[in-house]
Amino acid sequence: MTYGLWVLCAAFVVGAILRLPLSLSMFGAGAVYFLATGQDVGLLADQVMGQMTGTYVLVAIPMFILAANVMNAAGISERLWAAADAIMGRFRGGTGHVTVLVSIIFSSMSGSAVTDAAGPGMVSIRMMRQFGKFPGELAVAVAAAGSVIAPVIPPSIPLVIYAMLSGASVGGLFLAGIVPGLLMGLTIMLTVAMVAKKHGLPAGRAVGFSEAIPAFGRATMPMTLPVVLLGGIWTGWFSPTEAAAVAALWAMILGLVILRSYRIGQLGESFRESVRQMASTMLLIASAFVVNYAIANEGLAAALGHMLESAEVTQLQFLLIVNVVLLLLGCFLDGSVILLVFIPLLLPSARALGLDLTYFGVVVVINFMIGLITPPYGLVLFVLASLTGVPIQKIFRAVVPFFVALIAFLGLLILFPEIVLFPVQGERDR
């Protein structure tokens, strides 16, 4: 490592450990790097503002957040719950399966795991405890595991960020995320089945046909949101950024006019909430541009590439190493930081090894999502612990089976890339 990189890393690590916000730690580390290497500190403004004002695709993020917040405020979780209950409620630990199914459906409207956990996740936890006789920590574990599907099934904020970093197409990444997202749901459901048996949880009640049909009817309208959003992108009518705004508009029309479960007075609150959520995410992205500039300037990515090349690492070995390292980092660092700082480092090597960048993106995003439920720093676990009052230590223990199952699933994706690539391949061959 060069002198400049040492300075950069040291400044960042010190700032982060002292609990300065990570974005400020990165801005600060960038400034220290420029000062220490005798470069113009003005480059800080140049890098941050040049990149922020030049990256149109990033503006999709506030609109995705807005759409999900409006849908949450319109109370669609209960509608989705009733429909999912009619399908999956009858099995042993049925409410757990329903939770996962609701997460999958909500995933197609939201791009962030925390939004999913705090919205439908909280509704699900209440239902699991009340009707499914789930112990509190198990209910939280199921909802947490379900929520990490949100950024894998499109729309997805991490996939948009990855698209910006790698140059891979947002539409292609979104397409490639669907099958792995659904399989993640299946993996979690299988785990729920095993855990439910172990805890001797009761079976839910079977919902009759006459009750199921109206429940499906009530869930139909919210389900048009992903159709508008993804249909718009894949037919090429809208850019992903425009599609995000159209989705937010459609969410408002749904809530205000069609479902009538959202009042015009709530709009201001939805905008206010969205702006805060987007600012904390996007500030981190802005600050990462500085760190990325410094890393590129010091030639670290190229050095890493040469090292891997001279070690004659194969694609599979590369993926295994990268995933193990990212999982370990994910135990301590925020997924967005890893995505923004470490992925640009790895991309040149991934390219040189001939890895499909769309595939690589989906795999690393799933990896980060597992990090969200990994002790000791699982963001979703902490959010749910503080919202439900269930002690975090108990949640840590309850989430282990889900965490293990998802890692096994990640291993499967590494061994069989076709799971991710076949829909994309079909699209490319057309």
């Binding site: 000062l35 003005g42 503002m49 004002t53 990033l58 959010v383």
Partner: protein, 171 residues
Amino acid sequence: MFRSATSRLSVLAEGVTTFGMIALFALFIFGIMMRHVFGQPQTWVDEAVTLLATWLIFWAGAFVLKWSDYISFDVVFRLVPESGKRLMMIVGCLAFIAVICASIYAIIDYIMFMKIMTTDMMRLRLDYVYSIFAVFLIGITLRLVILTARLIFGDWRAALKSLDAIPEEIL
């Protein structure tokens, strides 16, 4: 007196951001309508939404977000007793304030130099466009000064507590 002035200012700052977000959304919809419904693409809209979003992020980042809203790494911090937390935050804040003080002149100088360039579509001068970054750095540094003062001279336990509060939108 001082408290109520800052809280009034923060309500104002939040109002500006909410209005900005509504404007961002409206601009998007206007652009999409013009392109797809009226067949008259307005190329400046893409640039306008990107610039507006950037301004919103830095404005909200400096004046609207609560300390608990910022994404932080607190694995180590949580293990330390209260008085240690106080000391860590004070050192962290002072270090950041020092770094910004050492660099702000060069940053502002660079931004002012950018007056020779404009954006591609709307031909806005880049020194105006980039100025929000300096506003952000100065704003956040001033807030850190206030936080440090609270930690040293004021009710430091309350100040520490404000770092950990759950963001209210989640509640």
